[in-house]
């Protein structure tokens, strides 16, 4: 997180919230009272579990709570990562504009790795077919005047793994 902590001295969440978070990474049990089931598994009350989740949502640790769809299984198979080499002074503004495009599902500024990798802005565009994604991209380039910005489109060829991140230690094998 801040790069200052070491394994031995890292401040840890108390046992049960950490346990709750690792359980949540696997998803809710599909039962009438999912929070109660989780509460039993991490030694909290149902109310405490709900309070933690509410707090994590409010603080932004949880971005959304709901159905996590596997796009590929639905037939949304064209997945393009579009990477751009923008001047550092322009990247935030363009990033915000691209993020506001309905077709753009993720948009991040990342560190460049020159000379191998000059690109500093990454966005994802999903669609049913490659041509459709490219048409959408053309329109985005046009709309935001990005014709002269070096960019590349990296379509996915195969998903070897697609799952939620696991960050908490106790879920690690």
């Amino acid at each position: 997180m801040n790069g200052l902590t070491s394994t031995a001295t890292a401040p840890r969440m108390s046992a049960s919230p950490q346990r709750l978070r690792s359980l949540l990474e696997a998803g809710l049990p599909l039962t009438e009272r999912p929070w109660r089931t989780l509460a039993g598994q991490c030694g909290m009350s149902e109310d405490e579990v709900l309070a933690w989740v509410e707090r994590w949502q409010r603080e932004g640790l949880i971005k959304r709570l709901g159905l996590v769809v596997r796009h590929h299984a639905l037939g949304i198979r064209a997945n393009a990562m579009v990477v751009w080499d923008l001047p550092d002074t322009a990247v935030a503004e363009v990033g915000r504009r691209l993020a506001a495009e309905p077709a753009v599902t993720l948009c991040y500024r990342r560190r460049r790795c020159p000379p191998a990798w000059p690109y500093n802005l990454f966005c994802m565009i999903h669609g049913t077919r490659r041509e459709r994604v490219l048409t959408v991209l053309d329109a985005i380039v046009e709309r935001h005047g990005l014709q002269d910005v070096p960019h590349r489109v990296l379509f996915s060829l195969k998903a070897y793994k697609q799952c939620g991140g696991r960050y908490t230690r106790e879920t690690q094998p």
């Binding site: 070491s6 709570l65 769809v69 037939g75 990798w117 990454f122 908490t168």
Partner: protein
Amino acid sequence: MAELDALDRRLIDTYQRGLPLCERPFAAMAERLGVSEAQVIERLQLLQQSQVLSRVGPVFDHARAGASLLAAVAVPEAERDEMAAAINRSPGVNHNYAREHDYNLWFVMTAADENQLEARLEALEEELGWPLLRLPMIEGYHIDLGFPIPWNELEAS
């Protein structure tokens, strides 16, 4: 594609975000959709079994939920499957994709903190025998609201 009926679609369209935070969330969803709690639970189970859903639950913010970065590696195409399998076996990896580029494997490496993250990357680099491109996020611009599913396009294709 999996056969999804109107209820499946309404669940997906309505609840990629905003799952009710209450004791009986599936009952609250059922009420809004005009079906029974048992139906909602059964559908979600089926959607999960058929791999349409990876899960029902929270999506954590990568940047806040620990340490993570996007990594890429250029491996010979003939060895791609084998290398991808090694990446998949490595602890902390998710979203491992082959992409059309010299850097042909792209994955997200996660860990509890920066030290563990770098240790995992170094161990994997050693195993693969090819250098990893490390591309940590500097800033995120998108708020993840879920993705509107183009049902019409899917039917046409």
